[in-house]
């Protein structure tokens, strides 16, 4: 028989085992979020197509047609969409998962489960939209008769990187949000600015060479570059940025988990 010990300041060795034990709950949360997401909407699931499509149209017109940014030899909409894939995932994940603890406050104060479950499931829910967007991208590529390079098989690596970055930041934000509701205002800001700071509507190569290393400190730069590099075969992709992004994602994730774990025990008291 397993004995459960609850003590102050005890590092619960059970935590990771619990996280595994609650994997079904994780799936249930994903399932719930998907079920609920488009309830009482007129066009339902189509929103996950309409949103990227409209964003694509606006970014293509603003940066491609009006801003006359270089396309690097690929159709501009493809260039934009490859940047949008990880960006939309990151921004929705951050918005949803950042709020995940606060919006489930009732549960947090009434039932025990590893709180990470709820934040991680919020991030994972966004993968469904991501996959719908991927289908859309394939359709776009067929439309433009664009054949991806062999490197396309490296996409999963960048998906993992994208997921890690989103989870890492979300863990930080979700945990901070419990204490400081200020993040409710900070997150939309970050999402809004991020779209322009990250190379979503343009290539990172338009940034002057001497600033590129600095620019690459934004992990989304490396991730977006990576997507473009392996899907579109753009040689302009700045490979050092991918390395930087990988290291940063590792740090974000590790520190996110650390901070979340550290503050988790007091969530129920202050939420």
């Amino acid at each position: 028989m397993s004995e459960l010990v609850i003590e102050s300041g005890r590092i619960e060795r059970q935590y990771w085992r619990d996280l595994w034990r609650y994997r079904e709950l994780f799936l249930f949360f994903v399932w719930r979020d998907l079920l609920v997401r488009y309830k009482q909407t007129a066009v339902g699931v189509s929103w996950s197509l309409i949103r990227p499509f409209l964003t694509l149209a606006v970014l293509t017109i603003v940066f491609g047609k009006l801003g006359k940014m270089p396309a690097g030899g690929v159709p501009y909409p493809l260039l934009v969409f490859c940047g949008m894939l990880p960006w939309l995932f990151f921004s929705t994940a951050l918005t949803e998962a950042g709020n995940s603890l606060v919006s489930n406050a009732n549960m947090v104060s009434k039932v025990y489960f590893p709180r990470m479950t709820i934040t991680a499931s919020s991030v994972s829910t966004c993968l469904v939209d991501f996959m719908i967007s991927c289908v859309f991208l394939i359709a776009l590529m067929i439309w433009f008769r664009f054949l991806p390079p062999v490197a396309v098989f490296l996409v999963p690596f960048f998906v993992v990187l994208m997921f890690g970055a989103s989870l890492g930041v979300s863990l930080w934000v979700a945990a901070l949000m419990v204490k400081y509701r200020d993040f409710r205002f900070i997150v939309p800001f970050v999402v809004q600015f991020g779209l322009y700071i990250s190379p979503v509507g343009f290539q990172s190569s338009v940034v002057p060479e001497r600033f590129r290393l600095l620019y690459a400190l934004n992990p989304m730069v490396g991730i977006i570059d990576g997507f473009r590099w392996c899907i579109l075969g753009l040689p302009q992709a700045y490979l050092p940025s991918i390395g930087i992004a990988t290291v940063e994602v590792g740090l974000l994730l590790a520190s996110g988990v650390w901070y979340f774990r550290k503050t988790e025990r007091t969530f129920a008291d202050i939420i």
Binding site: M1, L4, L25, F28, N104, V108, Y180
Partner: protein
């Protein structure tokens, strides 16, 4: 730890830092501001700790619960009951001390936690089950039982936001009732739902307790505690005041509580306040104990800053199984023309035919339209009925079960085949041995 012990609590304490909580509410700006003003101090957390005031919600609590024991936790609001449950459920961590739990635990601090308004009953059963720690396969296996227990079968595919509150609670409790832990920790979940459903819940709980599992039950319903539990723990100001056999502890707690029963409630909107509710016996003396069949006077002192015209006052006497009887102005129409200034009013319940149990008086006050609540329906006073039932014609071998029986007894007589007539009555006059003709002989 001894294998017979299910829960062992040692020196448990939980401290909240009141002002620190406030500081946290103030938000990020203050933290940054403080950091800028006094960077070193903030780093050393000196400023921070100076401003905090400690508040121990629970302190030095030690408790051992044996396997198969059913323990009731009672106490006033704010005595630390909820904190203790939160610690046991691992929702929050203790500041000091330790808890050891031996066995699979399910804790139920609320029914319907995590129910999602937009989802259907069916979907919510799965979601809620998973939140309470059930496996998917387990929920599938018990699904039909849950649906049957909840009595909402035909609305299974309707979003729960369209449910009546009764249906909602039934469904929620049904899921919880089918948890199958070795140790069950339950908070005041029975305070919801109608009387019939509460009875069903209590039945489920007692069958659970009788199956030899460990239960920790927190409730304000003293009668339910008395029926379900063998032992009670009385918490006061965060520590254990008394721990022992349920009857003794409940009685002591009850007496302490009614001695200082000082209900007061206020409605700012209507400028109306009930300053005090007092129970009096037939002689007019303040009392919280009545004999069966005695008169009981519920007296309330009010103060009305604004005149309250033609209010409806509703009093209800509640026992184990819900409301026993009421005095309801919505029905009888005897409302006061106006309540203003300060004053008193009372309601005399005559020859109250109640069995010796614990009861509460609930009150609600409504405006003259009969709908808007000046004061919400809530407990305003508590009382016990005490007495030796043998004196009232109760001579059965199982008379001890009267403590869990339906409490209202109107006078009745059995007319037996052999012609004997056996009268039973809780009325003031004791049963005399007078000759009564059997109805059967006519």
């Amino acid at each position: 730890m001894h294998p017979d012990i299910a829960i062992s609590i040692e020196g448990l304490g939980k401290k909240y830092e009141v002002d620190k909580l406030k500081a946290q509410d103030e938000g990020l700006r203050h933290v940054i501001e403080r950091a800028l003003r006094a960077p070193l101090a903030t780093m050393r957390k000196k400023v921070y700790t100076k401003r905090t005031r400690e508040f121990w919600a629970l302190r030095n609590v030690s408790l051992q619960v044996r396997r198969g024991e059913v323990v009731g936790v009672i106490g006033r609001n704010g005595a630390g009951k909820s904190t203790m449950l939160k610690l046991l459920s691992r929702i929050t961590v203790p500041t000091e001390g330790s808890i050891r739990i031996n066995g699979r635990v399910a804790s139920l601090l609320e029914v319907g936690t995590g129910f999602h308004q937009e989802l259907t009953g069916r979907e919510n059963i799965f979601l809620n089950g998973a939140i309470l720690g059930m496996k998917r396969s387990e929920i599938i296996r018990k699904f039909d039982e849950i649906v049957e227990f909840s009595e909402v079968g035909e609305f299974l595919d309707t979003p729960v936001k369209r449910y009546s509150s009764g249906m909602y609670v039934r469904l929620a409790f049904a899921v919880a009732a089918h948890l199958d832990p070795e140790i069950l920790i339950v908070d005041e979940v029975l305070a919801v739902g109608d009387a019939a459903f509460q009875r069903k819940c209590l039945g489920k709980m007692s069958s659970f307790a009788q199956s030899g599992r460990t239960v920790l039950f927190v409730s304000h319903n003293l009668e339910a505690v008395r029926n379900l539990c063998g032992r009670a723990v009385w918490l006061e100001n965060g520590s254990v005041r008394e721990d022992g056999a349920v009857d003794q502890v409940v009685e002591n707690f009850f007496n302490a509580m009614s001695a200082s029963s000082q209900f007061s409630s206020q409605s700012d909107e209507y400028g109306f306040a009930v300053r005090r509710v007092v129970l009096r016996d037939a002689t007019g003396a303040e009392s919280a104990q009545f004999t069966p069949g005695a008169d009981m006077i519920v007296e309330l002192e009010y103060s009305a800053a604004k005149p309250l015209e033609q209010p409806y006052i509703i009093l209800a006497i509640n026992g184990v199984n819900g409301t026993c009887f009421t005095a309801n102005m919505l029905l009888d129409g005897n409302r006061p023309t106006v309540l203003q200034g300060t004053g008193k009013m009372a309601c005399r319940f005559k020859a109250v035919p109640l069995l010796p149990q614990s009861y509460s008086v609930k009150m609600s006050i409504r405006t003259k339209n009969g709908n808007d609540r000046v004061l919400d329906y809530s407990d305003v006073a508590f009382f016990n009925v005490v007495g030796d039932l043998a004196e009232y014609g109760f001579a059965g071998e199982f008379v001890s079960r009267a403590s869990s029986s339906t409490p209202v007894i109107v006078p009745y007589e059995w007319h037996l085949p052999d012609g004997t007539v056996a009268p039973v009555s809780l009325s003031g006059e004791r049963v005399q041995n007078k000759q009564i003709d059997s109805v059967l002989s006519r």
